[in-house]
């Protein structure tokens, strides 16, 4: 029982790390592309965009967060079910809507709130199930 509880807690922590890193990475990429401006679809335009992106600190911060997302995603999949992690990760959509209201004071339509409620209920239901239903190897012994 204690092992099951420990598994649930560490899965929850890694899913939270995934969601935070993915959202932070996406926000940083968006901010970087806003600073760079619209990309012109011509050879000089693409070259200019390439130079601007590789020298953008904001973009590199975004890439750093996305690497964090990939590492936490790979780590949690080494012990938890894909059918558990995938829907649980959708909690990020709900979190982004809350952030948009609280920090950016954006207006959110009733339809979007219904979507947020459905996601939260769905994630809660998936969260009640066992995080792992298949055998897993321990890395040290593999």
């Amino acid at each position: 029982m204690a092992t099951e509880g420990r598994l649930r807690v560490k899965t929850l922590v890694m899913v939270c790390a995934m969601v935070v890193c993915a959202n932070a990475g996406d926000l940083m990429l968006k901010r970087a592309m806003l600073q760079i401006g619209a990309v012109e679809l011509s050879a000089p335009g693409l070259w200019h965009a390439f130079r601007m992106t590789v020298t953008s600190g904001t973009l590199w911060i975004g890439i750093f967060f996305l690497c964090g997302f990939m590492l936490s995603y790979m780590t949690v999949l080494s012990w938890a079910d894909y059918s558990y992690v995938m829907p649980a990760g959708a909690f990020g959509y709900a979190l982004l809507t809350f952030f948009a209201v609280v920090f950016l004071h954006e207006a959110v339509s009733p339809r979007r709130w219904v979507g947020v409620v459905l996601i939260c209920v769905g994630v809660l239901l998936v969260g009640q199930t066992k995080p792992r239903t298949t055998p897993v190897a321990r890395e040290a012994l593999a």
């Binding site: 790979m74 339809r111 947020v116 769905g122 239901l125 998936v126 890395e139």
Partner: protein
């Protein structure tokens, strides 16, 4: 309309196929003993030597390019809700390819998440 359906299939099956291949690679790699930087780096190195991981990467790249192409043809309010179907396809993949036990509660949760993502994306 046919080309949109083809690219939507590439998006959904590419992303779920890629994630299922990566999951198989991670399961074969095994759980890290501790969640410490040194052991996580060793775990990452071992995962990068797994063939399933590298089978998943091009599939995910394919789905990413299908997403970009779809976004250039159709409004985002169509593309993202339609791509939420990947939650259902992914759950079928988890059950029949990875052999996971998908209980009724998990199925209901997945369908609710799928509908919720579609509604959030429609705005």
């Amino acid at each position: 309309m046919m080309h949109v359906a083809v690219f939507l299939c590439l998006l959904i099956f590419g992303s779920t196929g890629g994630e299922i291949a990566i999951t198989r690679g991670m399961k074969a790699t095994g759980e890290p003993e501790r969640l410490r930087p040194r052991e996580l780096l060793r775990f990452l190195g071992k995962a990068l030597c797994n063939g399933w991981f590298w089978a998943g990467v091009p599939l995910m790249a394919l789905s990413f390019y299908a997403l970009l192409v779809l976004l250039s043809w159709e409004p985002i309010s169509f593309v993202i809700p339609a791509s939420a179907l990947s939650y259902v396809v992914g759950t079928f993949g988890a059950k029949y390819i990875l052999g996971e036990e998908v209980s009724a509660a998990r199925w209901i949760g997945v369908v609710l998440v799928c509908a919720g993502v579609a509604l959030v994306a429609l705005g």
